[in-house]
Every structure is written in C-alpha cells, then in structure tokens.
C-alpha cells in the first residue's frame, strides 16, 4: 500500500521573513466557487444566509461570519473559504480546495512591497480592510485582499505558488535594502 503524503501548495517555500515582512501560507480550509445562475442570486443568498450566516459580497468586497468568508472574484462569482457550502440549487458550485495557493503578507512594509507588484491603489483610503481585488501580482492573475491594516492575503493558482513566493521575496528584498 502506497502511503500518500498530502503537501500544501507552498510546502517547503514558506514561512519566510524578509526585512520586516512575514510571508506565510494560509490554510484556508475548503474553497468553493459559487456562481448563481441567471435570476438565482436571491435564492443563493438566502440559502447561504440560512446555512452560514453570510451572503455573497458585492464587487470588490468580502463577507465574513466566523470561519466562513467569501471573496468577490468576478461578476456574479465569489469564492467561499473556510466552510462547505450548503446545497444550492440556483448556483453552480465547484470545489476548488486543491486549486489555490493562499499566502499572507504581513508587516509594516506589506503595502510598500505589494506596490511593486500590484497595479491597484492599495492606500487604506482606496483599499480598506475587507476590500478585495481580482488583479495581477507581477504577471500572475491573483486575488488580493486586505485582511488588516498591515496584512494582505494573496490567492493564486496552485501551480503559481513558487512564482508567487519568488516575486514576493524579490520585492521584499528590494524594499528591505532601501532601509
């Protein structure tokens, strides 16, 4: 019998500390994409609200209730992290738990470092705690979410985990070198 060992997307790459920036892998739990069918938004919100106590977020927004949270990732689409979805008959639901690498970027220079990679205004005035954006990190498509004043969470395809860690550590090294 072969003994299989499950590895996380960033196994062997993280955690990493560069200057005052900490990069760590986030165990987001189950991840599902939820995309209501045309006309199914209200029924989906009602079912999610009943089962998990949260609704689908609007554009650029997140919703959270306990361990369950949702990120807007496109028109009429959101990722549900940290909880299994209830039965939704008015939405397409895809289990993508193994498909994403989730990395937290924490520290006083977090915004400074991401400014080198992300073409979105990350100033707290434009991108407050709880805001999320589908955008790019370098050449990678990514979801960037502000989880705290000095903390961001970046979600990329699992196959991009090594590239993401490389890009972030390169940028952090550059920022740290400026002192």
């Amino acid at each position: 019998m072969v003994d299989l060992i499950a590895l996380t997307p960033c196994a062997g790459l993280l955690p990493l500390t560069v200057g005052n920036l900490a990069l760590a892998e986030v165990d987001a739990g189950p991840i599902h994409l939820i995309a209501p069918f045309r006309g199914g938004q209200a029924a989906t919100d009602a079912a999610l609200s009943k089962a998990l106590g949260l609704e689908m977020p609007g554009p650029q927004a997140t919703t959270r209730k306990g361990a369950a949270r949702m990120l807007s990732v496109g028109p009429g689409q959101a990722l549900l992290l940290g909880a299994a979805p209830p039965a939704l008959d008015q939405a397409a639901v895809t289990d993508q738990s193994d498909g994403w690498a989730v990395v937290s970027v924490t520290g006083p220079d977090a915004r400074e470092v991401l400014m080198r990679l992300v073409p979105v205004d990350l100033h707290p005035g434009a991108f407050a705690v709880g805001a999320t954006a589908r955008t790019m990190v370098g050449h990678m498509t990514a979801s960037v979410t502000r989880t705290d004043e000095e903390a961001f969470e970046i979600i990329v395809f699992r196959s991009m985990a090594r590239t993401l860690v490389h890009e972030l550590s390169e940028a952090a090294t550059g920022v740290a070198a400026r002192g």
Partner: protein
C-alpha cells in the same frame, strides 16, 4: 492608459487584452456585409470603439476612446453594449 472595467472600476492597461473593433455582427447568411465585418476596418483619427478583455475578472468591455487625444471616455460591459 487606464481602462474602466464596469465590475472592477478603472484599472491599469496591463490587466487588459485588446480584442478588436466593437462591431455588430451582420444578420443572416453570407452577404457583402460579412466581408466588411470580417476584413474591413476603419482607422479613425478620433473616437473609436473597441473590445477589451479584463483578464482578472473575465469581463468583456466595450471601450470608447479617442485615437488623437488618447482620452478614454467610456467603458461598458459588452453584454450591455450589444456589440
């Protein structure tokens, strides 16, 4: 250049891919209109409408812009623009 995505707001050019002129597809079977639709393009000095694909969120945007002043004057979702 910054392009307005109807879902994400105004974003940097590098998030978009150019997808050609925003033309209405001709009706029905083959006619000379199809030849124009497929092969003939204007090259306006001034206002032009074209499609851009916003890679991160997957929205097709019909962008109105000026080829002389480089001003981007509008961006609406292609499904609402009917083109």
């Amino acid at each position: 250049m910054r392009i307005p995505c109807p879902h994400c707001g105004t974003r940097d050019l590098r998030e978009f891919t150019y997808q050609g002129a925003a033309l209405a597809q001709p009706e029905g079977d083959w006619s000379p209109d199809w030849d124009s639709y497929l092969h003939l393009r204007d090259n306006p000095a001034g206002e032009t409408r074209d499609r851009w694909y916003h890679n991160p969120c997957g929205t097709w945007v019909v962008v109105t812009r000026d080829t002389v002043s480089h001003a981007v004057t509008g961006g609406i979702a292609a499904r609402e623009a009917g083109a």
